[in-house]
Amino acid sequence: MNLLLTVRHALGALAAAAVLAPATTHAQDKTITLCWAAWDPANALVELSKDFTAKTKVKMKFEFVPWPNFADRMLNELNSKGKLCDLIIGDSQWIGGSAENGHYVKLNEFFDKSGIKMSDFLPATVYAYSTWPKGSPNYYALPAMGDALGWTYRRDWFAKPELQAEFKKKHNRELGPPKTWTELKQVAEFFQGRQVDGKKVYGAAIFTERGSEGITMGATAAMYAWGMTFDDPKKPYNMAGFTNGPAAVEALEFYKSLYKCCTPPGYTNAYMQEGLDAFKSGQVAMQMNWFAFFPGLYKDEKVGGSKIGFFVNPRQKVAASTLGGQGISVVSYSPNKNEALEYIKWFAQPDVQKKWYSLGGYSCHNAVLKDPGFAKTTPFAADFLDAMGGVQDFWQEPAYAQLLLAMQKRVHDFVVADKGTSKEALDALVADWTKVFKEEGKLK
């Protein structure tokens, strides 16, 4: 009898659950996948997204790909109309191709309905991460992770009195974070091959990577600071005299001289990770890298805290920094577009953006960046704001990959492989790019 009662109760409970379940299990059953690069901020986003799951019951899955393979892997996924990613935090340069080829959902209507205003985000990030055609009010992403190229240095080495004295005697100024590229090279030369704390150290870790985008991102950091623009602002896509103009030629020449004089041995194919390794292992006095890594570096037991200092990309003729960072987009082929859009709506909230920043992500929201206390939140926050005020990005055209690979080849050929002159390299680059833009129908 007891058994019969138990079975009846159990069946009753099951029936009740079946009636009541749809409203709750629907959301609980949903899982959306967010695709991004595998790096420190991605871990912060995993942490942050737990709040989204707690609030909406939509579970989150993450697909993080290491940076060197990120573009290959994700662009293949998008081109094959794959359903792996519901949300993607894609590189800024992908926006043109992804918008034109229909990979990303256009978000204007959704923003209007959800009350998301682009004016709530830093204009430079909206321009770079969200719009296509550039600067138009057509949005394909929400600015998710602001980033720019910056520098770190060994504050503890710079503070050594004997080094301070020697540097001052040689250059008649204090040994401190450089303000210009010329100063940066002087500091790098000063440290190159020097014994510090009983160990041979080198000047600077800069980007020289050949395979993806490394050397282009590094060299353009100098070229932008020399005042280079890729094309004539009045006549778009006219690059002669701009990409290969005197400023660009001089800057590239300088970048090569910095590579030759002041990098560690074997530094011929180095990007973010190699830079981090060189800095963390105490090999270099200065490191070029993305701001995204700075929170992690500041926390590093060996080289963080009081041992590390940060500075914005030095100016030469103008103040400018290479843009990094990404926007978050909904993939057109996702079967879970509603949940993905819900995530974006949640992510755009000022409180969530504040928490995002506190976890180590670089929010682009004005609620974070325009907070009077922002500049003092971390030792690099002021530099970040400074950098974001003058960022410049590579081409964001649908043919960006062709343009990027051409630059990787020409610049690496000149800087690392000693092929030809700076002028010849940039002339060849202009010829390559002209051919691409002609094929694209953007130049006659």
Binding site: N269, H412, D413, A417
Partner: protein
């Protein structure tokens, strides 16, 4: 009754009657087709169809990342572009350098090792296994650990060279120097694949009957004479086979070079397959890269055919 006949009989008994009758009604030719049919279908689907598709694409401006764009016929323009592109010729030159030197070194070393291993000595099995280890490793693993070995500051290779030559270890960069990088990839490939050539040569050496050497001994032929007149001619078809296999493999070498140098410094070690991958899957010039792939295919196929004819001539001598 022997075992295979017993198994055949049991299989025949186990076959259901209707199927047996249907199979009985088929000709030998039909049964043969039945057996090779699935393989042929698979071959057509994954080899022949993509090949024909690639040939078609090679005459178009198609880009796989722009599925909505209009596909236009470009005639032979892609082929003209490929054959007049200086970067393609630079890649072919890098490939030729890599293929020539790896084949030469692997053949010489592989044969020499096989000749040594062919003798009976203590620990013969152990040393054979040790020699075979490199070819059992994944190219990705090999690429990664040679990257460490070539590291100018901590790499064992640089320290070994330093020990022998007296040069400071960090004074030269195997992977970063334009002069040394092409040799760095040759060294790694030779290290990895010489055992493979050795194995094939060893098979050749072991196939030579002892009585030929005994007859030569009776004729008082010197060891040197025996080597030139017996060993080498009889092993030659095997060596040529090894050269063919390695030649084809190295012509399309990608993984190891990509891991070691990514084609750098600059474009010094950018072999044809790396250029092809960049054109096809990074620049997304599908039509152009299809034309390049066809050019490579024709080159390899043509050379391999000529070579196989030469191999047959040697074998029939």
């Amino acid at each position: 009754m022997d075992a295979p006949t017993q198994i055949a009989q049991r299989l025949a008994q186990a076959t259901p009657a209707p199927l047996r009758q249907r199979v009985r009604g088929l000709s030998d030719r039909a049964i043969a087709w039945l057996f090779i049919g699935p393989t042929m279908a698979l071959l057509l689907a994954i080899n022949i169809f993509p090949l024909i598709w690639t040939v078609w694409l090679s005459f178009t401006n198609y880009r796989a990342n722009r599925p909505n764009a209009e596909v236009m016929n470009r005639g032979i323009d892609n082929y003209v572009d490929v054959l007049t592109d200086p970067d393609i010729w630079a890649a072919m030159q890098a490939t030729a350098h890599f293929v020539f030197w790896t084949l030469l070194l692997q053949t010489l070393l592989g044969f020499a090792l096989a000749y040594l291993i062919d003798r009976k000595f203590r620990g013969h099995g152990f040393w054979t296994t040790v020699l075979l280890i490199p070819m059992m490793l994944s190219p990705a693993v090999v690429g990664n650990f040679w990257q460490f070995l070539y590291q100018p500051q901590i790499g064992l290779f640089n320290y070994a060279v330093s020990f022998v030559s007296g040069l400071p270890p960090s004074s030269f960069e195997m992977l970063g120097s334009v002069k040394l990088a092409p040799w760095a990839i040759v060294i790694v490939d030779t290290w990895m694949w010489t055992p493979y050539v050795m194995l094939i040569c060893l098979a050749g050496l072991r196939s030579i009957p002892d009585y030929i050497y005994e007859a030569a001994e009776v004729d008082r032929a010197s060891k040197w004479r025996q080597f030139w007149s017996i060993t080498l001619p009889m092993v030659l078809p095997f060596i040529m086979l090894a050269v063919l296999f390695r030649g084809i493999e190295n012509f399309k070498m990608f993984d190891m070079v990509n891991l070691l140098t990514s084609g750098g410094p600059g474009s010094t070690t950018e072999v044809a397959s790396i250029t092809l991958k960049r054109e096809a899957f990074e620049k997304w010039r599908t039509g152009y890269s299809s034309a390049f792939a066809i050019v490579l295919f024709v080159a390899v196929f043509g050379l391999a055919n000529i070579y196989v004819k030469a191999l047959n001539t040697v074998k029939n001598r």
